[in-house]
Point group: C2
Chain length 197, copies 2
């Protein structure tokens, strides 16, 4: 099972982190991102969107980090990390949507500007960060984990770009419950770090 990967990508890290926590073996293939390898065949044939991560497991090819988390959890022995009951599953999906939209376009986008020089509207990324982080913080003031009362792929999906927020100039100092949650995630058995986390 191959993961086309970039070490500094939080979206790739979501997958590496979960695979480490759930002890799922991955063949990690580094992609020459600066050289645009993901925009050219053969990678752009696997993912026409020209993005990474990409997971290839036999005939299954997946292009979205959240879809990859769902696949690994349900197919490769990580079932404890993805509730099977409808309410628990939906609770996790709520946070996958949050990771895909509010976190991606907030703290992740702010980091893309500061660390990689992306031409995005920095003020807008900060505005979005300052909306979503207090909501996450308030949620975590009442629950140790994002969903289902235990560590799930929801935590793996939201953790990377929240923990990396300071690399986009977004301080986590005001968010005590987020900082406690980050410490809990880091204390999970088999936790895997990345640069900046």
């Amino acid at each position: 099972m191959k993961l086309y990967d970039l070490e500094l990508s939080g979206n790739c890290y979501k997958v590496r982190l979960f695979a480490a926590l759930a002890r799922i073996p991955l063949d990690v293939v580094p992609v020459d991102f600066l050289g645009g390898e993901h925009k050219r065949p053969p990678l752009s044939d696997l993912n026409p969107w020209g993005e990474i991560p990409v997971l290839v497991d036999g005939d299954v090819v997946l292009r979205d980090s959240h879809a990859i988390l769902v696949y690994l959890a349900s197919r490769h022995g990580g079932a404890a990390w993805l509730p099977g009951d409808p309410a628990g599953l939906a609770e996790v999906v709520q946070w996958l949507s949050t990771a895909a939209n509010e976190v991606q376009n907030g703290p992740c986008a702010a980091r893309l500007v500061d660390k990689f020089g992306y031409g995005l509207d920095k003020a807008e990324t900060i505005r979005r960060s300052l909306r979503i982080l207090p909501l996450i913080d308030a949620h975590l003031a009442a629950s140790a984990w994002l969903a289902a009362g235990r560590p799930t792929i929801a935590d793996c999906a939201v953790f990377p770009y929240v923990a990396l927020a300071p690399e986009g100039g977004v301080s986590l100092e005001p968010y005590g419950s987020i900082r406690s949650w980050i410490a809990r995630v880091k204390a999970l058995p088999n936790f895997l770090p990345m640069p900046g986390v």
Copy 2:
């Protein structure tokens, strides 16, 4: 089972559309959106994010349209619309992420500017629309439905804001495969329209 709803919201329409297609009874509760009812208790207690739709089913409260689709499909008899196998489930989740990010911040956001006067960067919403629509069109040139070779909640999640794109000044004229797919969705038994679709 109550759905707090706004008729002109594509995110609310995702849920109404799926419930109609899968014949799932919903008690639709109109929200006074212009009056800010969703930003005040009791609705803001159900969803601290101050957004709709919100679904309430006994003790289960869900705040995200995609999570609601997953819940209804897995809990209320819409299982044919959500594959249970890991690859099929992940394929659907890919499109839920696309709906939550690329479609929400592309054609949906363009419509928010033109139709409701939201102060977003219109040029950026157009740029994002012109990136995602060709990718969806190319995918639909090869498959009749977005995922799993049949109608699923992925179609219900992506359909509303793609079909409403012209209300944000984004023409669907260049995208023949999208237009054929829209016609296929509209021809599904029990299809439910909304204004502008």
